[in-house]
Symmetry: C2
Subunit: 343 residues, 2 copies
Amino acid sequence: MTKLALAFDLGGTELRGALVERDGAVAARVSAPTMAGAGSEAVIGQIIALAGTLLAEHPQAKVAGIGMCAPGPLDPKAGIVIGPPTLAGWHDVPLIDILSRQFGLPVRLENDANAAALGEWRFGAGRGSGSLVFVTVSTGIGGGVVADGHIYHGRRGLAAEIGHMTITGEGDRCFCGAVGCFEAVASGTALGRRATRLTAPGDGSLLRRLSGDGDVSARHVVEAARAGDVNALELVDAEAKWLGIGFTNLLHLYSPELIVMGGGLANGFDLLAPGIRATIEQRAMPAYRDVPIVPAELGDRAGLIGAASLILWEGEPGAPLAIAQDEDSGPSKRADAREANHG
Amino acid sequence: MTKLALAFDLGGTELRGALVERDGAVAARVSAPTMAGAGSEAVIGQIIALAGTLLAEHPQAKVAGIGMCAPGPLDPKAGIVIGPPTLAGWHDVPLIDILSRQFGLPVRLENDANAAALGEWRFGAGRGSGSLVFVTVSTGIGGGVVADGHIYHGRRGLAAEIGHMTITGEGDRCFCGAVGCFEAVASGTALGRRATRLTAPGDGSLLRRLSGDGDVSARHVVEAARAGDVNALELVDAEAKWLGIGFTNLLHLYSPELIVMGGGLANGFDLLAPGIRATIEQRAMPAYRDVPIVPAELGDRAGLIGAASLILWEGEPGAPLAIAQDEDSGPSKRADAREANHG
């Protein structure tokens, strides 16, 4: 059996683990609700427990290392989770040190949007391209940029914080404190909020019927738009315009070969695409207008697969590491893997 | 004598040439008003004539190659000037081919903002940094990004078109057709326009006295602000806010180690800096707030020096080229230089 990577995608809601093969195939998956309020030790305990489950179920697996993604801000080179807003009690947690000591394996860390960008680039919608911008549109908006064969990190790995790019002077204040962030006007949350304001409980609208007269979510808007609901179609149009403005900026700033849209709202990609395209046609300078905008292909596996690829494909970020596809087994498996980097 | 590069900075108004040494020193300079309306052949004739002047004045110069910058859009790898709006009759001009055939020397081409970014990074305000974003604020706004030791090019060399990043929904329509471009609200032109609207010919304001009752320019605003004029100080505050919003986006998107501000408006950098800083403090996420924003150091030589460095320091963009600092002369000078790349 070829070598596998243990991969973890640490989200504010769910902690996912997987054994991933070198071709991006997911050999096994586990998950658990993240104990997001319990601090870093508890969550690291969950990671160790899930790893134990995966390894117990696949005792024959030769694990080359652990690829891990977590919410930003984090420093991928130093291997430190700086302080994600969705995880209480995480402050400068040296996750690579902790996990590599626990498992005696190489560990790589990347922020979740960057890992998903890598996953989509290597195994998903961006296969074969030289560069891409991955945009995840969900509760918030995040992004990752692949250029010249690697993640564009910037200082401290903090590049591509695209959700907090100012694109307008209007709209609700963003949780970050600014007005006009891409995320504040174009996330799934923003779309749901507009739909909720447009309707009222008991008004008989399709949006409220779908939401059981509760707050309307982006998912309800997409569902209602598919049914031809006029309100929902207008909301989708406005959403596509905001996405188109943000995407146009990404084209002008990064000039990627393609933009890949993922996240929950990618479920409505077919409905949004015409409006996104029209806005780009209208606003982008001519040389950027023909860049494809495509939906993500890996869904919620993108982060796991991208994180695994940090182990199986190359050592980025951080020190040299490139685990060879090694058919041998032996007592010095890890030493071999490390030597392979310097070969 | 060590080798020099011939460098040209082709602007819509002025064509500048220089002989540049390996340490960035400018050994000789020439310039001429660009025959911008006369088409590419006429302007290429001007380049050849200026080269002749420089070489005639410095017959002992050992020229290793020609580094050239020109307005975008251009394709640095293919060596093609695609069609700058400020130069009539330039459509897909293969400038590298033309000049290398003319001179029998290696030629490198880069867009002007990228060349200036390289110049400031190697010899100016960004010396010693690992990454920077260079922003030129003048008639328009342009930019160049250096990361991991080279220009961030993107597809067709079109990355960092930061002037056409949408940052608001208000203001005058940009020449590109969109509303809310960084350039449309924050360029020197935009500042001058606001000052012109705020005042009227004959109103006795300092701004109009400085402009001789004509249109007020950004330069007049800076001059009046230095004299303590209240109108001008308010205009500077508003300008700094717009620059701060744009710079915050650049921090979030590229996460550079520093931002270098050049262009005509950098003459007012000391007046603008407090307002830029305050806006960044207010809008940037905490991890980005301590990134230095500094004025450019090379002035209008940045493009020339950066273009020269393409020849003298490395082959970027395009094919391998690294002209050795070669004290020998001999008949096969260029062959030697090419071989040095593969050594």
